[in-house]
Symmetry: C2
Subunit: 414 residues, 2 copies
């Protein structure tokens, strides 16, 4: 019998974890080596059931909350608030087998390792499998008390509404309040995830300690010109909405690249009206999104871009309107959790790098109610949401060991 | 009784012509003051029938050729090849009441004036109402021997195929060859049309003498980058197909505006893939069209644009492919016909301006088989293909008088 207090270099069973990952990838497995498990579909349900069985086999007490999230709990000797670790097992259509699955199964392996060694932690340890992460972080949103009754009517990719989906998972959509965890009721939340980018790979780092999950602000931008005959309208008489929009796309890129910071900015959708080869475009609508860890920085970037838009519109003889649509607030991670992750990495002799998470994760909802942290392992070529998504066995095992080390560290520091 | 030889200042009945225009606009008339007469639809047939009745009432011998075009012929004393004048009465969906109708009814009014005055011209005078101008100059294409059997299967806006449409008009799609007019068999072709641009309005000119109908070359341009996550892909790692395409749109405009000439260039359609706000565009397809009176000039412009495209693609980390699609050869008008139009304008004390036609017209097909010319009257604000298309009564009558003067002049010069 060893105790958590002196188990700094305790390690998980890499073989067992890799075996679990391989097995889970067969549920909804696709020909290309990926998985197709959109939330609430049969494959999603089957995968969740398998994970629940593994939790029970590891000695965890499994329950599904009213929002349909699965928690497997390893009790502690006393009544301290739990440390929660985990991720999700749903996927985008034709997605990869690491996104979410790695964090969920590594958390299970950590709990299994703790249980197997007969350790008694100060905090209960909960392994969570959030539902419908890919469709908008729905499960963790409910846990943070931010899922509204209106959201239940939204249709998920699988065709079920979120309300129907929660029922399929064994939840009770009419009693969402019962799934909410109060601020202070969770000691810490930690999530391991694949990077979905190339920052670690390029830097030659083993793990990325997430400084925060970036905020995202979206705008719908409309340039209005005058549609006209492409043959009979001399160049000087044109009010070409696409010319203005093209200059705007270039200006967004120039602004983003020129100004210092880790921010990114993207025009991902652009639609031309009427969109005929022989008609000068009269209207273009496009989306602008800006991401950064600091909302004030996003606002400052937008101010520059909006000024450019006005200048471009006047110049091209069009008008422009920039309408804010959705926005996600930046979610900084907790310094103590970041410290525990870095400590564990150090203990295993691994090189860590501080970095923002450009993608959304359940950790950002959990950050609203608990000290939260997150870390990445490299994904080859930064590919994700694709059957080509890949993380090496070595990195998978490194990630799980750091998660174990982080839990043990947090158990004594939080 | 006057003869054509000394009737230089003979004029049409403006009131009669304006009445005809008003009457025709009630057939397929729309609430906004426009007309909806897509080729081969019931309204198109009804309008053509009314024009045929008016031709007969004016003493013209009416026949429908095997391609479905209507000709009304005023015989001459001798066997000379005819002078052909006219245009079309079909419209785009929800189009204007002057495009085509003006040229057809002005031609009818010219023939009616000649007949009414008991003139005997040297050349027979034929008034033509071409079929399906808006769907690709189909009727005149047949007359020039360029309509193929394959074309007959193409579906027009009205839902009928061209073959079905020709039958509905009383033609014989199986005997298209009988509609072909041999080179040399027509003394001259003249068409009056609204400008569909603002050149005349801006210049304060009464008519535009068309130097030629521009050639149009089309390309389908594809930029291929790499689609990637808009949150996790740093700016430096991107291969953004939309950024490249935006720079291309700007480069096309810059090239066209900078290089000397009357050419125009347009990117009218642009499609982004996958087109999601949070995905860096992996592919953009767009259309490029260049128009000029001189094919070599179009080719030279394209060479510059293509070089820019290559440079932009390399710079943005994308590839680019420029694939030529359809092309229409420039159709210069005949100097003698242009001279006759300018002569008639001068006789009426009107100011004429030489200009290219940026839009396609039946005259460009007729130019392949006969000395052809064309002239424009102003259209307010350059609006066409719209219920807001408008030409003043005064300009309508001026146009018809110049057409009459042109015919009388050509009758002695050709």
């Amino acid at each position: 019998m060893s105790s958590a207090r002196d188990a700094g270099v305790l390690t998980v069973s890499g073989e067992r974890l890799l075996g679990d990952l391989r097995h889970l990838a067969t549920i909804g497995g696709t020909a290309g080596g990926g998985v197709n498990r959109p939330a609430y579909g049969d494959e999603d349900l089957a995968a969740r059931e398998v994970v629940s069985q593994w939790m029970r086999a590891a000695g965890l007490a499994v329950r599904v909350d009213t929002a349909g999230n699965t928690f497997g709990r390893l009790p502690s000797a006393n009544d301290a608030p739990p440390i929660v670790i985990g991720s999700h097992t749903d996927s985008v259509p034709d997605g990869g087998r690491f996104d979410g699955a790695l964090g969920t199964l590594a958390a299970l392996e950590v709990a299994r390792t703790v249980a197997q060694h007969g350790m008694t932690l100060h905090h209960p340890l909960e392994v969570v499998n959030f539902q419908n992460e890919e469709g908008g972080l729905i499960g963790s949103k409910a846990v943070a008390g931010q899922l509204s009754a209106d959201d239940l009517a939204l249709k998920a990719v699988s065709g079920f509404t979120i309300g129907e989906g929660i029922r399929r998972l064994g939840g009770e959509p009419d009693r969402l309040a019962a799934a909410v965890r109060a601020p202070g009721s969770i000691a810490a939340y930690v999530e391991l995830h694949i990077e979905q980018g190339r920052v670690l790979e390029r830097a030659g780092a083993d793990i990325g300690v997430v400084e925060g999950i970036v905020g995202i602000s979206y705008w719908e931008v409309t340039f209005d010109g005058i549609p006209a005959h492409a043959g009979t309208t001399p160049m000087a008489d044109r009010h070409d909405a696409l010319l203005a929009a093209a200059r705007f796309v270039e200006a967004v890129n120039r602004t983003i690249v020129t100004l210092p910071g880790q921010h990114v900015g993207t025009v991902g959708r652009l639609t031309v009206f009427p969109g005929a080869p022989n008609v000068i475009p009269g209207r273009v609508t496009l989306t602008l999104e800006l991401r950064d860890l600091d909302q004030q920085h996003i606002d400052a970037l937008f101010a520059v871009v909006a000024r450019e838009a006005e200048r471009i519109a006047v110049d091209a003889g069009t008008t422009v309107a920039l309408r804010p649509t959705t926005a996600v607030t930046p979610a900084p991670t907790d310094a103590r959790v970041r410290g525990a992750i870095a400590f564990a990495a150090c203990l295993h002799g691994l090189r860590s790098l501080d970095m923002p998470s450009g993608a959304g994760h359940d950790a950002q909802n959990m950050a609203a109610i608990a000290p939260s942290g997150m870390f990445f392992v490299p994904s080859v070529d930064g590919i994700s949401h694709s059957p080509r998504e890949f993380t090496s066995d070595a990195d998978v095992v490194k990630g799980a060991n750091i998660l174990l080390g982080t839990v043990l560290r947090l158990d004594v520091t939080m």
